[in-house]
Structure formats: C-alpha cells, structure tokens
C-alpha cells in the first residue's frame, strides 16, 4: 500500500477550485438538479429516529414534491440498521432502495463478529445497500491487512446487497491516505467508495472527492471493474451538489452520471434542490412554506 502513487495537495485543491468555477446555467442546471435528486441517498442518522420519522422520510423520498410528477424519486433512503424494517415497509416496491449503515457506524470501533452480524441482520431486514465504515484505527496504525480483511468479510456478509465503503476522509489526514484507502477498499471489493459518515468534520470536500474519483479512474484502468462514488456530509445547497456533478463529469465522465455509479448522501439538500428547480422554471424564488419539511 505504501507504493501507491502520491497526490499533490496543492494541485488537487487547485483543480477542484477551478472546476467549482464552472458556470452551469439553464437547461444544464435543470438536468444537474434532476440528476442530483435521482442520485440522492436521503439520509437520517440520529439517535432520535423513530418509525414515524422514517415513514415521513420515505414518503418524501418517493415523491419529493407532492403533486409534481416531473420531480423524480430519490435513489435510496439511508438509515440506521434498526430502522431498516420500517423503511422497507414504507418503500415497498416503489423502487427507492433501502441503504443501511453498518459496522458500528460511525466509529467502527467494535468487534468484527458484531460487525458481520449487524450487516447480515440489516440485509435480512431488507437493506438493498450497506454503508460500512473502515477501521480507521487499523488504517492509521498501518495495519492495512486488517482493514482489507474486514471489508472482504463485510462484502461477503452483504450477499447480494451493494456495499459502500466509508473512508471517513476527515480522519485520514492527508490526500495520500485518502488515495491509499480508496484503492484498498476497491481492491477488497467495494461497489462504492464514500467520503464520510457526516459525523466528523470536515466531511465531504471537493478536493477529497476529486482524489477519490481519480483513484477510481486508475482502478478501472487497471481492473476494468467500475466502482461508484458517494460524497456525503455537509452537502446542503444545490450549488454544492452541482459542483460535485461537474467534478464527476470532468473526471469520470458521463458514464458515471447515474445512480448506479454515483450517490449524494444528504439530509437537508433535497428542499434546496426543489427550490432551485422551481426558480429555474418560474424565474422566481418561492417561500420555503411551499416545500414539505419531513
């Protein structure tokens, strides 16, 4: 792992900053906002999550704007394992997927047997996708083998469920580590790599995302296996979401602009996107009173 090619911090940050200056207007903006919804993992990860909260979130995810069928559904609802059964019930055959975090989210500081068990139970309860966290303690102490083996074990526990591997980049310290962890996770079988839990600051950033996407690009070149990307944490505005889509478009290309290969993890982004779509269509901003708070 120490032989993985390095990342230049200044270069990565400059490139990300220059892409963030792309001006996305009119038809391209509407397209991007539509995609942002289609790729969204609408998330709630709180100690206070209840069956009622999950029901409301599922309804919002299926029909983000009641009465407006031109607004698509989100990709998935992302929740704690204990709430998977609730979500499964409310989403049914709507096509919106259930994503469950697992492996002692968010710290990952627990026993492998418990993590495997948690994953299996979440899948049994109806999770289509599992968002695991890597063992940062092992990664930062240089025990890459342990991190790798754990991802392999969880991948196996997932069965048919898709595995997203959260690197928690805010705890990795350098872009070099982010790149290393990305390659490690992909080599171990990740279907997606994901930036953050949202519980640690900084969460997703544009340069970190660029570095992860470049790692994906190199991995695909080596192996031919496409891996998806999910930034999560701190993405609250349409403008931010569009910046991620621009970096995606200019790094991995149009083939990645689909929910099968890209997700946006967000809890409060959806209404801002809906508001911007309305603004783009009608030319005026509407009051937040016209958007449902779920």
């Amino acid at each position: 792992m120490r032989g993985v090619r390095s990342v230049d911090q200044v270069g990565a940050e400059e490139r990300a900053a220059s892409l963030a200056k792309r001006s996305i207007k009119k038809a391209s903006k509407l397209w991007a906002l539509d995609l942002a919804i289609r790729c969204m993992d609408l998330t709630t990860l709180e100690g206070m999550d209840t069956p009622g909260k999950i029901a409301a979130l599922c309804a919002k995810g299926i029909r983000p704007k009641p009465g407006d069928p031109t607004i698509p559904s989100v990709a998935a609802i992302c929740i704690y394992p204990a709430r998977v059964a609730d979500a499964r019930e409310h989403l049914g055959s709507s096509g919106v997927r259930v994503a469950s975090v697992a492996t002692a989210f968010p710290s990952g500081q627990s026993f492998l047997s418990l993590k495997i068990d948690e994953t299996q139970q979440a899948v049994a309860a109806g999770a289509d996708e599992v968002d695991m966290v890597i063992d940062r303690g092992a990664f930062l102490s240089g025990d890459y083998q342990k991190v790798y083996d754990e991802i392999v074990a969880i991948k196996e526990a997932c069965g048919d469920a898709h595995l997203k591997v959260i690197l928690e980049t805010g705890e990795l310290g350098t872009y070099d580590s982010v790149r290393r962890a990305s390659i490690l996770a992909m080599a171990a079988g990740a279907d997606f790599i994901k930036t953050s839990t949202g519980k640690v600051q900084p969460a997703a950033t544009l340069p970190v995302s660029l570095v992860m996407m470049e790692a994906i690009r190199d991995f695909v070149r080596e192996t031919g296996r496409p891996v998806g990307f999910k930034p999560a944490g701190g993405i609250r505005t349409s403008k931010q979401a569009i910046a991620y889509l621009v970096v995606l478009y200019e790094t991995l290309g149009p083939e990645w602009m689909t929910p099968e290969r890209f997700r946006l993890g967000a809890s409060s982004l959806l209404n801002d996107v809906l508001m911007q779509i309305e603004k783009e269509r009608s030319g005026a901003y509407q009051s937040m009173d016209y958007f449902t708070i779920d």
Binding site: R5, S6, V7, D8, V10, G11, A12, E14, R15, K21, R22, S23, I24, K25, K26, A27, S28, K29, L30, W31, A32, D34, L35, R38, A59, I62, R63, P69, T70, I71, P72, S73, E89, H90, L91, G92, S93, S94, G95, V96, E214, R221, L245, Y249, E250, P254, M257
Partner: protein, 490 residues
C-alpha cells in the same frame, strides 16, 4: 398500504451538456476610433494612417486605431521628457499614492477590462478574469509599495530614475505586460512611452482612461498605438534613455543591434521553449494538470509555456493515456463563455505560423494527436495538439511555436533530463514534477532557465523576478530585481 410508484423523468434519458454561459458585454463601451494618449489626454494624431483591431474569435472589427508616425512618437517622448522633471521630484510617497490609485481602479474596473481583453485578444474570459487583470492590479500594488522605500532597497547607492522609458509589449498578455512595464518604471520615478501590440491595443487605451481617472500628472504615461514601425521609432528616439521589450527573439536581436553604442539601457524578455520534466515518482494527475496548464493556457501564447514535455520512459504510457483523455475534456469555443478553456488564436498570421510548424512536425515523422474537437466556423482556431515520437532535432522540439502544441520526448535518467532540457537556445522557464524534494533542488541547480517551477507551472507573482537565460533575453521583471533596470545606482 398503498405504495406510490417511483417517479421517472424525461431528463433521465438525456446527456449532460453545459449550456452557454457567456459573460455579458453590455457594460463595456468600445469607441469606434481611438486617438493617441499623449501628455495626459487623448489627442488627434499627426499620422493619417489607421488600422482596425478585430475580435479574433469572429473576425469582427472592434475599433480603429492610429498607426503613430515619427511626429507622434516625437510628441509623446517630449511630453514624457517634460513630465520627467516634476515626476522624478514630486516625492516618492506621492508617486506611491498614484500607483495605489491605479491599482484600485484596475480592481474596480476589472470586469470591463477582462471583457475587453478577451474580445480583443481571444483568450478565455476565465483567464482574463482570474489571471490577467488581478495580476495586473497586483503588480501596481506591489510596486507602489517600493516607491518610497528605494533607498532601503538599495542602500548606500543613492537610487535615481533614468528618464524616459520606451516600452514595447506583446499581444499575449496585453494589460499584464503593460503592468509589468509601467509599474516599476513609475515607482522608480521614470516616465514612459508605451506601445501596445498591433493586434491588442484596446486594454492599453482603456488604461489611458484609467490614468486620466487617477489624475496621474500629464505626460507620465503616454500610449501610442501602431505596428512594428512605430515600435522601432519609440526605441530609437534619442531622448529615450531606457528600452524594455517583450516579444520575439528575432525582434529582440534587431533592437539590441540598433541600440548598440547609444548608451541606452535595455532589457529583453523574449521567446522560450521550456521543458516540463516529469519523473516517474510524480503525482500523475497533478502533473497532467500542470502539463495542460503549461502548454494550453492562453492557447500556448505564453513565452514561458511548457512546450516540451520530457517524460521518464517508465511512466510514458500511463501519463500519455491520462493526458490524451484530459485533452478530450478541454472546452474550445467562445472566449466570452465562462466555461471555455481554450479560446481563439490571436491573429491570422499566428494561426498560419502554428499550422506551418505543426505540418513540419508531421512531415519530419512525429505522431500527431488532436482530440475530437469542433472548431467554430469563423475566427482563428487551432485544436489542442500533442506530438509523440519527437526527436530533439525536429523543428517542433527546437522552435518556439507559441500555440497549443506540445512536443513529447522521453528520458531515462535525471542526468539525461538535465541534458535534454538545457539543449535549447532558449532558457526562460522549466518545470519539474517529482515527489522527491531533494531532486527538485538538484534539478533547479542545473536548469539553465530563469524560472524553475516545482510541481506547478505558469504560476506568477509580482514579488518573484522573471526573466531569461541565453536567447530568452536578459534583465528581470518582478520583485526587487524588477526595479534595477529602471534605476541609476551610484
């Protein structure tokens, strides 16, 4: 319970494409014709000759300017001589105040200047907006700071101004080159007669307006439009005491010959054929960005452009693959569009020169690569171009192309990289890409180039001296060193 069906949209079947995002030009007023800026105001020229300045992206005429003649040049130099007496004595802190004022107005009028620069020269608005104009303002700001500190900067030698400076600048960074020339000259207490390039006179004429707005004393700055003839009249005028030229090596040599024996001071900033050297341990994605920035920035109309890529053979394939994919994402088109990466070639003559050299590359046996790229029908355009299988002896590896054309060569060892990089008559800049700090220093010691960039390229700052070795010229602009050509030290 009833479960709603997933909603799908029509957009899901379409592909992503950036909609046009042109910068507005409503706020810019370009006059139909311009006079000359002499003695603090726009005056009618003696010369009856005028020529159009066009927008190279659509060949439309923007305005008409004067081709200043001998009488006009004489008037301008006399105005500058007259102004020199008072300007050199008004007190350094007052000079500083004018320069700060100019810097501030440049910032205030940044949008207008960026649009004019892009319309007149063809460069992408994102570059004029983010590079040319902010750096121009920064130059004035930086040299304003030196104006009243010259005796501390050069202790025990009593720094004094020289007199009238004749300055001739190129078309690749019109306003920025003006700032590089005028700011240090004025800070040191000189007055100037400046001739902007034939194809890009408009930002200099706007600068004349800024001088008036700043209430700069009459005659301190004079701006004469014209072509090569006017430029040679400026540099050969007997009352001009100092000449500064940025442009081609060919013209630079002519000027140097013509000034021999006159006692005039001269600095030259000429061509380049910089090597951008990528070692096998380099961060490749950053290197790709640096290579692109090195040669495709401003359509390659950059004297310090990294036009020769030297790649360590062990990473040739992955690097070239990445580079070719990256070229495919460059957006060529309307320079006023905020998403444009590659704008128009500055002039028809330059386009022909680029095309001719590219043809010679193909004929000599190099392998040409150009991404799929639709060129607009009107205007002067050249796609980003890359040559592999290039030998050191090919013209494309030796001559300055001054266009978006990269020649790729390989090396095996650091010694070979040094040897190949220095094997050129030029020596303006070089780039080194490696993860190893000690190798950066080792390379920098051995590069015969005025600027060596490490893990970056085409990065400019007013505090950093810039200039060449060998046929790339002499004298430095920027930094403390940039004041020296404009001072008498005794």
């Amino acid at each position: 319970m009833a479960i709603a069906k997933r909603s799908r949209t029509e957009l899901a079947t379409q592909r992503f494409e950036y909609a046009p995002a042109p910068e507005s030009t409503d706020h810019v007023k370009i006059e139909k014709r311009y006079d000359l800026f002499i003695g603090g105001r726009m005056v009618k020229a003696h010369s009856q000759k005028r020529f159009p300045t066009i927008n190279p992206s659509n060949e439309e005429k923007l305005s008409e300017v004067v081709e200043a003649d001998e009488v006009d040049v004489d008037r301008a130099v006399k105005a500058a001589s007259k102004a020199f007496d008072s300007w050199s004595r008004i007190g350094a802190s007052r000079r500083a105040r004018y320069l700060f004022r100019i810097s501030r107005i440049l910032q205030e009028r940044a949008r207008e200047l960026a649009v004019v620069e892009t319309m007149d020269g063809g460069k992408p608005i994102k570059e004029s907006r983010d590079v040319d104009i902010p750096l121009s303002a920064a130059h004035f700001f930086y040299y304003a700071g030196w104006a009243d500190k010259l005796e501390w900067a050069f202790p025990n030698v009593k720094p004094r101004p020289i007199g009238v400076a004749g300055q001739v600048i190129p078309w690749n960074f019109p306003l920025l080159m003006l700032a590089w020339k005028i700011a240090p000259a004025l800070a040191a207490g000189n007055t100037v007669v400046l001739k902007p390039a034939e194809t890009t006179p408009l930002s200099a004429l706007l600068f004349a307006d800024i001088c008036m707005q700043a209430e700069l004393p009459d005659g301190v700055v004079n701006i004469l439009t014209g072509a090569g003839k006017t430029g040679s009249l400026v540099v050969s005028h007997p009352a001009v005491r100092k000449v500064a030229f940025t442009g081609s090596t060919e013209v630079g040599k002519l000027i140097q010959r013509s000034l021999a024996g006159t006692g005039k001071r001269l600095t030259l900033e000429l061509g380049g054929k910089a090597a951008n050297i990528v070692f096998e341990d380099a961060p490749l994605d950053a290197a790709v960005e640096g290579i692109v920035n090195g040669i495709y920035f401003n359509q390659g109309h950059v004297c310090c452009a990294g036009s020769r890529l030297l790649v360590q053979e062990s990473i040739f394939e992955p690097l070239l693959e990445k580079l070719k994919i990256r070229l495919g994402t460059l957006r060529l088109g309307d320079p006023l569009d905020k998403n444009t990466d590659i704008g128009a070639i500055n002039s028809k003559a330059q386009l022909e020169k680029i095309a001719g050299l590219v043809e010679s590359g193909v004929e000599e046996g190099a392998e040409l690569f150009q991404p799929e790229c639709k060129l607009p029908e009107r205007g002067y355009w050249f796609p980003p171009t890359l040559f592999t299988n290039v030998s050191q002896s090919y013209r494309i590896a030796r001559e300055e192309i001054f266009g978006p054309v990269l020649s790729v060569l390989t090396f095996r060892t650091p010694d070979e990289a040094v040897e190949k990089a220095n094997n050129t008559p030029y020596g303006l800049s070089a780039g080194v890409w490696t993860d190893k700090g000690s190798r950066i220093l080792w390379m920098a010691e051995r590069m015969r180039a005025g600027v060596v960039w490490a893990n970056t390229f085409n990065r400019f700052d007013p505090t950093s001296p810039f200039g060449g070795y060998k046929e790339s010229g002499y004298g430095r602009e920027g930094g403390l060193h940039g004041l020296l050509p404009y001072l008498e030290l005794s």
